[in-house]
Symmetry: C2
Subunit: 190 residues, 2 copies
């Protein structure tokens, strides 16, 4: 049967979930698909592009939201974090794809957060900056959280009660700093 982009991303995602990003190699993926490594390069220009497609797959649950700007930021970020935590090394993979400019889905998130900042009253030239700041936070926090989670899950159940109490609350706290900062920079408060 012929290889389709969709199949490749499917299998890549399952390799990611079962073995992690370190084992998501072009060769390993090709083996899993029963094709030669070169076959992948007919469908994708390079590994970065393929990982970008996996990132967009991971981010499909992140959708449009409505309501006051604060709620839109909070919901979008919560959806983003949930999506990342739903796949092994999800935060690391999406971070890398975002940095490489290979994720269309992240561009969508960026635009929606920028629109929310705009509605908050932030000048249009600075709204994208505010949106980027929020994304840096979500990616940084979640990558950190996920590496601890995965480390703990791997048998090392050391003193996690001290650190891991209420990650949702911790996440919300840092996000609130940015939301308050955005509110402070409004020209006109809603």
């Amino acid at each position: 049967m012929q290889l389709s982009k969709h199949d490749v991303v499917d299998v890549a995602t399952s390799v990611l979930d079962n073995y992690g990003i370190a084992d998501l190699s072009m060769r390993r993926l090709a083996r899993e698909l029963n094709v030669s490594p070169g076959a992948l390069y007919w469908h994708f220009e390079n590994k970065q592009q393929l990982l970008g497609a996996v990132a967009d797959r991971i981010l499909t649950p992140v959708g449009e939201v409505t309501g006051p700007w604060r709620d839109r930021i909070r919901q979008t970020c919560a959806q983003l974090r949930d999506a990342l935590l739903s796949h092994t090394d999800g935060a690391e993979l999406v971070s890398a794809s975002f940095a490489a400019g290979q994720s269309e889905a992240m561009t969508g998130v960026l635009n929606r957060l920028g629109a929310a900042a705009g509605d908050a009253g932030v000048a249009s030239g600075q709204a994208e900056l505010a949106a980027r700041s929020v994304i840096y936070y979500v990616l940084g926090f979640t990558a950190d959280e996920q590496s601890r989670l995965q480390w703990d899950a791997a048998g090392a159940d050391v003193a996690q009660t001290v650190w891991a109490e209420e990650p949702d609350t911790r996440f919300a706290f840092g996000l609130q700093l940015l939301i308050d900062g955005i509110a402070a920079h409004s020209h006109a408060e809603a």
Copy 2:
């Protein structure tokens, strides 16, 4: 002559500066040091640990600062960003080392930012969270900035006037969001 940790980190830093993080391999480094790859494993447990030592080298210019908490945060972050921009792929390397918990210097930065947040009036349990948020921002922003800078420097001088106007101002804006957020969370304002 015998290999010392110091020599290894020296040469590793120069490989980083001249060829970038992708070319900073254990084998390449060993070749540059006229030693066999295995020799490096006498001095460092693994590549992560060696990169952590390079990260700490990069961060030596980031020192203690004094003054009101807002200035301390601003100065620490400015020093951090400057240090990262002084080495090819500096932000990416330090980001990875911080995430892996391999940089003592970043732990120092974290503690100093946490102390500043504490002085701002943030509850002690949340001060470290605030400090982490600031670090996620600086690392995210600077990695982004540096990848654009390096891409532009590599001949592609496309429309950078649109995006690259005043990166210092852009950096300060995002940081100000967090500082304002921290101020909003103070129990007692100074």
